[in-house]
């Protein structure tokens, strides 16, 4: 079992992958990546929106309502993927006692909750014109709603505990207990009879025209880039706050106070 001091002891030469497990090494690296990720997200979103809203033809059955797929599927994928990432980093933090891993889990939760909300929101707006209902209590929708409650429960639990390391451990247990819900969401359209349509992408290929598929994949990349940027931004905020008593944060604070007057 590693202890915190293993990582605090410095940058182990034989284990370069542990270099960025130290918050003060990770912090500037993330800061450099964020503008590039946001720029990539903007360019990809512009291209994806062009493909999805201007180039792709209407659907034979659903008309132009189907275009909701270009945001709905990317945000729904992200809502599940972020949960898996959150549970993974929470587990790493729990087992190896690495602070940054636990902070990463905390940084992922609000983004996951946001994308889950957006998946439900865009799903309701798609369900109304195609099924005639904003909401139905079927397996896919209900398990996605449970995902939102798991994220919110994780955040509420961590907010309720004053000691950050206790909050990390309690959150990790909740995140791991909830991870079983992700395959339930993913496979729900196969396991149960549901109103929700089946997967658009599968091992057999895509059930849509090439330009539609391109639009969906480009929008997915755009939202991935955005989500990674937002999580890194939030992680930097968490690191700053938790490490505010350390010399390196104080040095960083002095540096930005000298270069600009506002703290934005």
């Amino acid at each position: 079992m590693f202890t915190t001091s293993t990582f605090a002891a410095g940058l182990p030469a034989g284990r370069p992958w542990l270099r960025y497990a130290a918050p003060q090494a990770f912090f500037p690296l993330a800061g450099k990546a964020i503008p590039w990720l946001l720029g990539a997200a903007l360019l990809l979103a512009a291209f994806g929106l062009y493909l999805g809203l201007l180039a792709a033809p209407p659907d034979r059955v659903q008309g132009d309502a189907y275009r909701i797929i270009f945001v709905h599927v990317p945000v729904a994928w992200l809502s599940m993927l972020i949960y898996l990432a959150m549970a993974f980093w929470a587990a790493i933090g729990l087992v190896f006692n690495t602070r940054l891993s636990s902070m990463m889990a905390s940084a992922l939760a609000p983004s996951g909750a946001l994308f889950t909300f957006l998946a439900l929101w865009t799903g309701a707006l798609w369900g109304r014109p195609t099924w005639g209902a904003w909401w139905v209590w079927d397996a896919r929708l209900t398990s996605e709603l449970l995902l939102l409650f798991l994220y919110l429960g994780f955040m509420a639990l961590q907010a309720a505990l004053d000691d950050p390391r206790r909050a990390d451990r309690a959150g990790a247990l909740l995140a791991l207990a909830g991870v079983v819900n992700v395959p339930v969401i993913y496979f729900s359209v196969q396991w149960w009879n549901t109103l929700h349509q089946g997967a658009t992408l599968s091992a057999r290929g895509a059930s849509m025209a090439p330009v539609m598929l391109q639009a969906m994949l480009v929008m997915t990349l755009a939202l991935w880039a955005y989500a990674i940027a937002a999580v890194l931004q939030r992680l930097r905020g968490i690191v700053l706050k938790r490490e505010r008593h350390t010399a390196w944060v104080q040095a960083y604070l002095k540096e930005i106070k000298e270069t600009r007057h506002d703290l934005g």
């Binding site: 275009r67 983004s111 707006l125 798609w126 905020g237 505010r244 008593h245 944060v249 604070l253």
Partner: protein
């Protein structure tokens, strides 16, 4: 471009409120998140400033 004019584009074949309600809310949510992240950073930097002041206050005058 599959649309003849912009009003046709905005009408989205009669599904305007569903399509724009989806894309619009996603965009608004991400914009609000960026705002919240800016506030979070400011809050963390203020906390770090307070920590510096507290340390200065504890140091004996020399």
């Amino acid at each position: 471009m599959i649309w003849d004019d912009w009003s046709q584009f905005l009408a989205m074949g009669g599904y305007a409120r569903y399509v724009w309600g989806s894309f619009g809310v996603v965009l608004a949510a991400l914009a609000l998140e960026q705002l919240a992240l800016r506030l979070q950073r400011r809050d963390a930097l203020n906390a770090a400033s307070l920590a510096a002041l507290a340390r200065q206050a504890q140091e004996p005058l020399s």
